[in-house]
Amino acid sequence: MGCGTAPWGARAAPPRLVAVIDQELIEQTLATALRTGADFAEVYAEDKRNTSVALDDGRIEQVTSGRDRGVGIRVIKGETSGFAHTSDLSADGLRAAASAAAAAASRDDGGVRTVALSERASQQVNAVDVYPDEVAKARKVELMQRVDDAARSAGSEVVQVSAGYGDSRKRVLVANSDGLLARDDIVRVLARISVVASGDTGMQTGFQSMGQTVGWEAFDAVDIEELARDAARQAIVKLRARPAPSGAMPVVIKNGTGGVLFHEACGHGLEADHVQKGASVYEGKLGELVASPLVTLVDDGTMATEWGTLAIDDEGHATRRNVLIEDGVLVDYMWDHIRSRHDGRAPSGNGRRQSYMHLPMVRMTNTFVMNGPDEPDDIVGSTERGVYVAHLGGGSVNTATGDFVFGMTEAYLIENGEITEPLREGNLIGNGPQVLRDIDMLGNDFAMGNPGTCGKDGQGVPVGDGQPTLRVKSLTIGGTAA
C-alpha cells in the first residue's frame, strides 16, 4: 500500500439532499439481495460531479467536467462477501445488480426477508459556504493563472510550472439490512503546484498542495500564491543541494510535514483487517507499550475542513475521534463492518471505499500525533549531526514486518545543532515498531499537513495527517554520500 501526496476526493456539507434513489426502491433492492439467505446486505449510492482545471507550460491545457453516478451492492453470508455495481439506477438495473451480488455471496435459496429502513440524521462536521459548482469556471481558471505567475516570478531558475485545481461534490446514500439509512453530501476542493527549476547541477522539482473538505471559501483562507512561491523555493534550494548521506542517523521532522511517518509506521498496521489475518506487527499488542511514552496517536474523521474528514463513513456509520495509542500504549485498532462484526464490537467509522465501484475496507481518515513537551528549536539545537526533513513525499509499508519507507522531498543537514546545507532527494527506511520507540523528542507546535491520497488494495481515498516537530533517534537515510 502506498500513500502519495496529491490528487483527489470529495466531502461534507449539511444534507440539502437529492434523494439518489427513493426509499421504497432501496428496500426492494435489499430484499432482492437477501434472497440467497445472506446475513447482511448493503446499498451504497453515489452521485458525483467534479470539475478540474489543468495548467501546464503556461497554458490552461484543459478544463474537465465529469460525472459518475451509480450503486454498489454488497451481500455478506458467513465469511463471504458478494459485490456488484451498476450505473443503471432503474428498478430493473438495481434488481440485476442485487441478484448478481447475492449469487456471488451464496448459491442458496434463503426465502424472503424484508427490510424497513429508518433514516439516521447525520452529524454535521463542517459547513459549506460556497458550493464550487456555483462558482464560474473562469474564476477557477484565474486561480491557476495566479499560481503560474507567482511560481514563475519566484526566481529566474524556474523553467516549468504545472498546476491543477479540482473540486468535487459527492452525494452519498448508504442503506443496509440492519435498517440503517444515512446520507451525506461531500464537497472538496484541491489545488496542487509542481515547479521545475534548472541550473548548473541539472533540474530539481518542488511541490505544494492544499486540499480541504469545504467549498470555494477555502481559497479565502489560504494564500495560494504563497503556496506557489513555496513550491518554487523548494526547487530552487535543491539546485545547490548535495547528495544525501547514506546510513543511520538522527532525523528531525518539521511539524505538519511528517504525519505520513505515522500513517506508514503504525497506521496501516492498526487496521483490523491486517490484524485479524495475522499480517500486522501490532497483532496481540493491545495494552502494551508500543511507542515512546511521548506518543499519543489519534485517527479522527470529524475534524472540520480536513482532507480526510467525513460525516459518515462509506458504510453509513458516524465518524469519530478514535485514540489508537495513548502515552505510548496501544489502546485500539481501526474497524469496519466486517471486522467489528467478527470481533463483536462497534465499528469505529473507518469503513471506506474509493467509489460505488469498490468494496469498503478498513481505512484511516485524519491520523495525527498530539503535541509533546519540547520547543522545536531545542529539538534541532540538541542534535549534533543529523537530517532535518522539511518536506516529505509519499511512503509505503509492509504491515507484516513493519518495514516502511518515505521520501524526503526537502531536507537539510543538521550540523552542531544548526540546519545547514540542502540535500538531494531520497527515501528514508525504518521499522515501524522500532521507530515509534525511538522518538526521543516531541515538539509543542502541532500542525496538520498536506492532503494525501492513501492507496490500499488498489483503492485511493483522501486522508489527512499531522504532527508536531519531532526527532527519531535513528533512521536510515537512503542517499549516496558517505
Partner: protein, 471 residues
C-alpha cells in the same frame, strides 16, 4: 501485487456475469461515437472515446471465498478542440441524455482553454494495424465456480510448499475491455481484449519473525495460468527472507530480480516520454544520439509483440501500435510520442498515446518495454559475482525516485551475494544512485525474460556502483 491490471478500458457500470459481455464487432460503441462526431460544428474537432469493461475478482482466505466481485462498467469521454483550445468532459454512463450533456460540457470547457498552436486530434497516418489475438472466448466463457476453484487451488498449493508459510490472500482476477474511438479527423477504431491472473500474498513465520512474499501467474485464458509457479515463488520469496538482517552501508553491485527490473525500466521510459521532453521536464531532453548506456543495451517498446501481456493493436488515440527502438547499442534513438507531443517536437506520433479510460485525455507512455536479452541465467550471473546483493523487492519507487532530477533511492530487501553464491538475507536498507548513472553502470542483461502484468518485461539486470544504505 504491484502489477498493473490488464486492459480495463474502464468506466461506469452494469452488473452482470462477465460472460454476457459486449459485442463481437463493437457496432454499438462505434454507433455512439459516430453520433457524437456527427454533431461537430464548423471549425470544431471532436473525438469520442466510448468504453465498456469489467472484471471479476475472487479472493480466498483459509479455504473460503472472502469476496467475489463481478461487475461491468461503461462510459464516454468527449474532447472538443476549436481555435487551438481544448475542452473535455466525461460520464460513467452511456445514457443518451448524459452523452448529450457531456458534449455540451466539453464545448463549454473549450472557452477556458489557452490557444495552443499544436493542439489537435490524431490523424490517420497510414501505418497498418498489426492483427493480434487479444480476445479469448475461453476466458469470456469461464464459469464463476472455476474461478473460485483456481483461487482455492492456489492457496492450497502455496501452503503445501513449505510448512512455515501462511497465505493472507489468494486471488483470481480477470478483466475485459472494449473501446471505440472516432474523430472528425478520420480516426475510427474499435478493439477488445481480455486477460486473467492468479496471485498469492504470503507470510512466513519463524518464532517471532514474519517475512512476506508474493507469487503470480498471468495469461490470456485460465489454462495459461501456472499455479505451481505462483505457489512456489510466493512461498520462496517469503521463506528466503527469514532471518534477514539490516546490512552495513557500502557501494556494491546489485542484481535486480526480473520483477524489480520491470519497475526500473518503467521509470527509465518515463524520462523518454515525448511530452516531458517538449515541456522541458526530461533529463534526456538534449541527449538524442548520445551514448547513455553500454553498447550491449537495447531498449525496445513493442506492443505488437504478442508475448507482451500489454500487447495492443491500437494506441489511445486510435493509431496503430508499433515497435519503437528507444535505445540502440546504448545510444538514445527515440522518444515516445502521441500526436500532440509529436507535432510540437516536429515529428510524427510513435503510436504511444496512453489512456487511463474514458475519464481522461491521452497521455504519452511506453506500452510494452523490454531489453534485448543477454545469454546467461540469473544463477549463472550470480555465480560470477564476488560481492553484491540480489534485490528481490523494492519499495517507495513513487516516493524516492525523481524522474526529473534523476535521483534514485528505494527501500529494498534481498540476499547478499558472496563468492558467487547467494548468502544471508537482508532487509530494511535502501539502494541509491541516479537514473543516468544506473543506465551507464549496467553490467549485464540476463538471458531470462518474463512477461509480467506490467508495461515492461522482467529480466535479471546487473548494475554496478550502487550505494546500499543500512546500519
Amino acid at each position: 501485487m504491484a502489477g498493473e491490471r490488464r486492459g480495463r478500458r474502464d468506466g461506469g457500470v452494469t452488473a452482470t456475469d462477465a460472460r454476457s459481455t459486449g459485442t463481437h464487432d463493437g457496432a454499438d460503441l462505434l454507433a455512439i461515437a459516430d453520433r457524437v462526431v456527427a454533431q461537430a460544428r464548423a471549425g470544431e474537432q471532436v473525438e469520442a472515446f466510448v468504453a465498456r469493461g469489467g472484471d471479476t475478482e475472487v479472493r480466498v482466505y483459509q479455504g473460503e471465498v472472502e469476496h467475489f466481485v463481478a461487475a461491468q462498467s461503461e462510459g464516454i469521454g468527449i474532447r472538443v478542440i476549436r481555435d487551438g483550445r481544448t475542452g473535455f468532459a466525461y460520464a460513467g454512463t452511456l445514457d443518451a441524455a448524459a452523452v448529450a450533456e457531456v458534449l455540451a460540457d466539453a464545448r463549454d470547457n473549450v472557452e477556458f482553454g489557452t490557444p495552443d498552436e499544436w493542439a489537435g486530434l490524431a490523424e490517420p497516418d497510414g501505418v497498418p494495424v498489426t492483427d493480434q489475438v487479444l480476445w479469448n472466448d475461453e476466458l469470456a466463457d469461464c464459469p464463476p465456480d472455476r474461478k473460485i476453484d483456481l483461487a482455492k487451488a492456489l492457496e492450497r498449493a502455496t501452503m503445501a510448499v513449505d510448512g512455515r508459510v501462511r497465505v493472507d490472500e489468494s486471488n483470481y482476477a480477470d478483466a475485459f475491455g472494449e473501446a471505440a474511438v472516432a474523430t472528425t479527423t478520420g480516426i475510427r477504431q474499435w478493439g477488445r481484449e481480455n486477460g486473467c491472473y492468479v496471485s498469492v500474498s504470503t507470510l512466513a513465520d519463524d518464532g517471532d519473525e514474519t517475512q512476506t512474499g508474493f507469487g503470480f501467474s498471468v495469461g490470456r485464458r485460465p489454462d495459461d495460468l501456472d499455479l505451481d509457479r505462483a505457489a512456489t515463488e510466493g512461498s520462496d520469496r517469503a521463506t528466503r527472507l527469514l532471518g534477514a538482517v539490516k546490512p552495513a552501508s557500502k557501494r556494491t553491485t546489485v542484481v535486480l530480480d526480473p520483477f524489480v527490473t520491470a519497475q526500473f525500466l518503467s521509470i527509465i521510459a518515463s524520462t523518454l516520454n515525448g511530452e516531458s521532453v517538449v515541456k522541458g521536464r526530461s533529463l534526456f531532453r538534449e541527449r538524442m544520439g548520445d551514448q547513455v548506456a553500454p553498447a550491449f543495451v537495447h531498449l525496445v517498446d513493442d506492443p505488437t509483440n504478442a508475448l507482451a501481456y500489454t500487447a495492443t493493436d491500437v494506441d489511445g488515440e486510435g493509431l496503430a501500435a508499433r515497435r519503437n527502438a528507444l535505445i540502440e547499442g546504448g545510444v538514445l534513438r527515440r522518444f515516445t510520442h502521441n500526436s500532440y507531443s509529436a507535432r510540437r517536437a516536429g515529428t510524427v506520433s510513435t503510436g504511444n498515446a496512453t489512456r487511463g479510460g474514458f475519464a481522461g485525455t491521452p497521455g504519452v507512455g511506453a506500452l510494452a518495454l523490454s531489453l534485448e536479452p543477454g545469454v546467461r541465467s540469473q544463477d549463472e550471473i550470480v555465480a560470477g559475482i564476488d560481492d553484491g546483493v540480489l534485490i528481490q523487492s523494492v519499495s517507495g519507487i513513487h516516493s524516492g525516485v525523481n524522474p526529473v532530477s534523476g535521483d534514485f533511492s528505494t527501500g529494498a530487501a534481498g540476499l547478499m551475494i558472496r563468492d558467487g553464491a547467494v548468502a544471508e538475507p537482508v532487509r530494511e536498507f535502501t539502494i541509491a544512485s541516479t537514473l543516468q548513472r544506473m543506465l551507464l553502470d549496467i553490467v549485464e542483461v540476463g538471458g531470462d525474460i518474463d512477461w509480467l502484468p506490467m508495461r515492461a518485461a522482467g529480466q535479471t539486470l546487473v548494475v554496478a556502483d550502487v550505494t546500499m544504505s543500512g546500519a
